[in-house]
């Protein structure tokens, strides 16, 4: 857990005092990622660096796991906080292995232990240990260097991590890959992380909480869904962008909105049965046909069922596309638009049909917050 208590930093500059952070108070629960987000110069980096005292606070306190860090020895404090700096900052004079082992060595681990740890970390960040450990940073690509930077911060398994735009230097495609890898790691590692970004999509994807900064002040501190649904003021609203409702789609998984009961037909049933079942369930256009393992194999269209006699197995069309339970709604919406469909069948990891998701369910979900808000406003009046 990281808690900032009225943390303030005033820089004395020749042109007068600059308040880079103004009474920042917030708390990041243990095991969560908090994203510091905001326009350039709003004080994100300053706030982050006050936590490990790269920048001395003018006033205010930092608590880590409930303990006031003011009294702690600076080096001790820092060795227990993983730090990924914005400029990567790998030591060019050291091999990758030496870079990763720096903190374990400072902590006095023995050789076999830190060497083994280096290999373990390399596997974790998906770089082949034998190919990379003996290289120097200058012999790696920017993205690889950035991963090593993260590995170095993770080396001594610190409970708390500070990361300043750790994936900033990577192209969008690789960035998405690294973000995914990082989130997967985080599921096991459960670090408490402060993460600076100025990319809203990254913040929504990675953050358990998002802190929006503006000119040294903390404007809003909320969970991503809450933030997107209820921006506190116009600044936050404009910062999030006019497509913020669409951004919320990233946050919801198919499994959250899929309706479980979905009617199907079997290949050996006849078209009349299919038609009746569509009527019973109120399906306007079509019905899924599944095999004996309940995997979707085709779609029977209503016009066909109305005009033709015979068995489903002879009169179906292929399934244009399906959603997986772990897909996010953004992908689903995209698939629906691409295939001109108003619903998609949902399948589990074994490819079995387990529900359906409709455009209506999606728009309803996005609107529900809004309606709750309206209701509250009316109630207050």
């Amino acid at each position: 857990m990281i808690r900032l208590d009225n943390l303030t930093k005033v820089f004395d500059t020749p042109k007068g005092a600059v308040t880079a952070a103004d009474q920042i108070t917030m708390e990041v629960p243990a095991g969560e990622i908090c994203i510091l987000l905001g326009p350039s110069g709003c004080g994100k980096t300053t706030s982050l660096k006050m936590i490990n005292r790269i920048i001395r606070p003018t006033s205010g306190k930092v608590f880590i796991n409930g303990e006031d860090t003011t009294g702690l020895n600076t080096q001790e404090l820092r060795r227990n906080i993983g730090y990924v700096i914005q400029q990567i900052g790998l030591f060019p004079n050291m091999t990758i292995e030496e870079n990763i082992s720096v903190v374990p060595k400072l902590l006095g681990w023995d050789k076999t232990r830190y060497k083994e740890r280096a290999r373990e970390l390399m596997r974790m960040i998906a770089l082949e240990p034998d190919a990379f450990l003996k290289r120097y940073p200058s012999e790696l690509s920017g993205g690889q260097q950035q991963r090593i930077g993260v590995a170095r911060a993770l080396a001594a398994d610190p409970p708390v991590m500070l990361m300043d735009e750790p994936f900033g230097a990577i192209d969008p495609i690789n960035r998405a890959v690294i973000q995914d890898e990082f989130l997967k790691m985080q599921q096991d590692l459960k670090k408490t992380i402060m993460f600076v970004s100025h990319d809203i999509d990254e913040a929504i994807k990675m953050g358990d909480h998002i802190a929006i900064f503006r000119a040294g002040r903390l404007e809003q501190y909320s969970r991503p869904d809450e933030l997107l649904a209820n921006p506190k003021d116009e600044f936050v609203e404009s910062f999030l962008g006019e497509d913020r409702a669409l951004k919320r789609l990233n946050l919801v998984k198919v499994r959250d909105l899929a309706s479980e009961n979905v009617a199907t037909v079997l290949p050996e049933e006849d078209l009349q049965t299919a038609l009746n079942r569509m009527d019973d369930h109120g399906y306007p256009g079509s019905i899924m046909m599944v095999n004996d393992r309940h995997q979707p194999v085709g779609v029977v269209q209503r016009p066909v069922a109305q005009t033709t006699k015979g068995y489903c197995r002879d009169h179906f069309e292929t399934v244009p596309t399906m959603a997986r339970l772990d897909d996010d709604l953004r992908k689903v919406a995209s698939l629906m638009f691409a295939h001109d469909m108003t619903w998609l069948p949902c399948v589990d990891d074994n490819g079995r049909l387990c529900g359906q998701i409709t455009q209506r369910a999606i728009t309803h979900h996005l609107g529900s917050r809004y309606r709750v808000q309206q209701a509250e406003t009316i109630a207050e009046v």
């Binding site: 490990n52 790269i54 080096q75 001790e76 404090l77 820092r78 060795r79 730090y83 700096i85 914005q86 400029q87 990567i88 900052g89 790998l90 030591f91 060019p92 004079n93 050291m94 091999t95 720096v102 903190v103 400072l106 120097y136 940073p137 200058s138 012999e139 170095r152 911060a153």
Partner: protein
């Protein structure tokens, strides 16, 4: 391509020239006459090297710590003015430095070593300082942020990353030092200058050459030695010549 052709041609010319010169020297009996000075040369090379090692060694021992101290943030207010003084110092001719040091310390080895020491000190200090100042702030921040104490940071990050520049300073300084030691003869410290200056005085070109050629060879060897050491010592990641 034209450039390479040109180089090839030049190299060929040089080889022919050396060959012709060799033949001429051999034919005229110059080599034998030069060998006459061999015992002297051996003794004087020893003296010469000793002067270099003493003054150069002392200079390294003083200059590197001095450069380190000046590069510390707490010295920032002083450092620039000290470096200015050192830079002005560099412009004073070594002969003048030797003369000054003689007027304080008298005649002999001591003033020579001191004068050479002063002349050698400057380039090494300057490069040490510049090398350390040139280490990127991001590296320093990463080192501190990771939990290194100031001295750990200096030895594990700053010095290794400045090492190449520091070595360049040592290389320049010692090469100049070896080439300057002959002047030490003028204040009575011996060295190969004895042959060179006596040769000039007596209008004996062979004697002069007997001093000049070993001096040149020494300078080249010292240069090569330090270059080799730098190649071996500076880590591959920060060593442009090993990239």
């Amino acid at each position: 391509m034209p450039l390479q052709n040109m180089r090839g041609a030049l190299r060929l010319l040089l080889i022919i020239f050396v060959f012709v010169a060799g033949v001429w020297v051999q034919a005229s009996g110059t080599i034998e006459e030069l060998l006459f000075y061999l015992p002297d040369v051996k003794y004087l090379v020893g003296q010469h090297l000793w002067l270099t090692v003493m003054s150069g060694g002392l200079a390294i021992l003083v200059a590197i710590p001095l450069g380190i101290v000046l590069s510390r943030p707490s010295m920032a207010h002083l450092a620039e003015s000290v470096m200015q003084v050192l830079n002005v110092g560099t412009t004073i001719p070594t002969l003048a430095v030797l003369a000054l040091s003689m007027s304080f310390l008298g005649i002999g080895t001591l003033p020579a070593v001191f004068g050479l020491f002063v002349a050698t000190l400057l380039p090494i200090t300057r490069n040490t300082y510049a090398g350390l100042k040139g280490v990127s702030p991001a590296l320093r921040e990463a080192a501190s942020g990771i939990g290194m104490a100031p001295l750990q940071r200096l030895f594990k990050v700053e010095l290794p990353n400045a090492l190449y520049v520091i070595f360049a300073g040592i290389r320049t300084a010692l090469t100049i030092n070896v080439g300057t030691v002959p002047l030490a003869f003028l204040i009575g410290a011996g060295g190969l200058g004895e042959l060179i200056f006596t040769g000039i005085d007596l209008y004996d070109p062979l004697m002069m050459l007997a001093g000049a050629i070993p001096t040149a060879l020494l300078a080249i060897s010292v240069d090569a030695l330090i270059a080799t050491t730098a190649f071996a010592v500076v880590p591959r990641g920060v060593n442009p010549s090993r990239a």
